[in-house]
Symmetry: C2
Subunit: 324 residues, 2 copies
């Protein structure tokens, strides 16, 4: 037991992995990218037009949705979940994502699986319009099970100083616009796994549907006047995430009959999860919200038609988010 | 089994964790930070003086050094390892770190441990002069063992376009300056664990010594004329990492008698790890190198006295890194 290979770290495999992902990674690179793939870090310039750019970061993982991917042997969607979790968090403040890095931890390298995961991250970065600048694939022999995987990532983004969306802009009478989510995105999977038990294998395809990436379309809208706040609906659900962008003294009334609940939520609720728990854990079919001035409602809805945007509620002069 | 709490996700614990780390996190914030801790992402402005700023990112984890921290129940150094791995990678290109995010994945929350880890990341960020802008603590019940921990992070940094250090600047006759590392930093732990077996518990304190963070001092030097390239000595050792910053046709001759090997490396070698494997896995006492023009040698050595910098070799007109 004197070699790194025997200690469970596969250096040759790591090199082959880096070669295999080179082409999908560089395919995400836009004109703003400076540098090269390989030994040296790639950089980006700030897109033109910013007078006082503020840089932001966000980091997230895919959580235990990965365990389902492992059970189902399906890795081609997890990159969408990862990138969506990060870039949509920045989009909710009004920041444009300009660079992404991924961190993949595995018990033991698996060439096909690991290439598929990074390809999936790269494909999602292309949709997000965000270059994948680098990443780390770490082998943790003897600490993680050989087939165990964790995936996290971080994004940097830019916004013009003073243009942050948020509660300071929200006013009584504003309209809440919801962008639909056909699936669970990447939240609530520990609960899903607990309530479905071994039956989960029958529903792998449905549960693994990749997250929609709202950022590009949402940001185009955000740049128009009259958009006051936005919320990425993650853990905590509509109540938690919408609540965080409302100022003290204002609340929101959401009408749950304004959109159709995707059937995956019925499947989970049918296992005995009470409604309040459902609403505070899952997105329930709305993955991203904008809070806008009524005067721009029609224009915003048109801009977001791709995500079946609709008015789901309004801002009212009483604290808290009421649903129904 | 219908509640998130029962599914193993401790939302109250997560909230308490966020409150506990608020003060150490915001203590890392410099005047460049815009925003607030909590619901909304914090941002940073680019430090003054950049004409054409290029933004870079780097991501890394602490690897299986964490397993040793778990065995030893000592978490107060791991943040130094994490921050060092990321910011010193950027420093090697000449980029200044301006924002950091951490990703902590655990089987089950442990208030003391998790606070200690984030405090340690924050303390290291202060040393690195890099604001900790956010982070994610993810609970993975049923997927990770309750007491399992993984820690990764990502940094963004800035450098002036065209000022990147690298092989394009390196010339025959340049001097290789080494900054000493008193310990393993965060590399080679899978090999260490394999060769030491259960004896590892006798050496936990020695093995867990936190990584030196070279970036602040190294960057002050890098800004002077005559510094051509730099290498952060991580996995791959001096040969691998120095080799990556040498252009085709040039190599380096390193004299290993120019510094004293910390005893931790003897301890590992004594378990039968052959010298070539030692040199290609561990830093062997040199954690960061600069390749400089001989005319600035003295000045650079003086600037890096804090890290017992010394000339360890020179650049020669033959490919490859020779040691000894």
């Amino acid at each position: 037991m004197t070699g790194y290979r025997q200690a469970g770290v596969d250096l040759g495999g790591a090199e082959r992995h880096v070669r295999a992902i080179s082409s999908p990674v560089t395919a995400t690179w836009t004109d703003s990218v400076v540098g090269e793939f390989g030994g040296f870090a790639a950089g980006v310039t700030i897109p033109p037009g910013y007078v006082e750019p503020v840089l932001m970061m966000s980091t997230d993982g895919v959580g235990t949705k990965l365990e389902l991917a492992r059970r189902g042997g399906r890795w081609d969607g997890v990159g969408y979940d990862l990138v969506a979790m990060c870039v949509d968090d920045l989009a909710a403040v009004g920041a444009r994502s300009i660079g992404f890095v991924d961190y993949l931890a595995v018990g033991s390298l698996d060439a096909d699986r690991d290439r598929t995961i990074v390809e999936s991250v790269a494909a999602a970065c292309r949709i997000a319009g965000c270059p994948l600048l680098g990443g780390e694939t770490a082998e943790h022999p003897g600490v993680m099970e050989p087939d165990a995987v964790d995936l996290a990532g971080a994004v940097m983004g830019v916004l013009e100083r003073g243009s942050e969306l948020g509660p300071h802009l929200v006013a009584d009478g504003d309209v809440v616009i919801g962008l639909t989510s056909p699936n669970l995105r990447s939240n609530g999977f520990s609960l899903v796994r607990a309530v479905l038990g071994d039956d989960i294998d029958e529903h792998v395809e449905l549960l693994l549907q990749p997250s929609v990436i709202y950022a590009p379309v949402a940001l185009a809208t955000v740049e128009s006047e009259g958009v006051h706040a936005a919320a990425h609906i993650t853990g905590g659900g509509l109540r938690g995430n919408l609540g965080r962008v409302l100022p003290p003294g204002l609340g929101a009334r959401v009408d749950p009959t304004t959109w159709e609940r995707p059937r995956v939520f019925d499947l989970i609720a049918a296992r005995g999860v009470p409604a309040p728990e459902m609403w505070s854990t899952f997105n329930m079919g709305i993955g991203f919200c904008l809070i806008v001035d009524p005067s721009v409602e029609r224009q915003v809805l048109e801009g977001l038609a791709e995500h079946s945007a609709r008015v789901i509620g309004d801002v009212v002069a009483e604290d808290g988010v009421t649903i129904g």
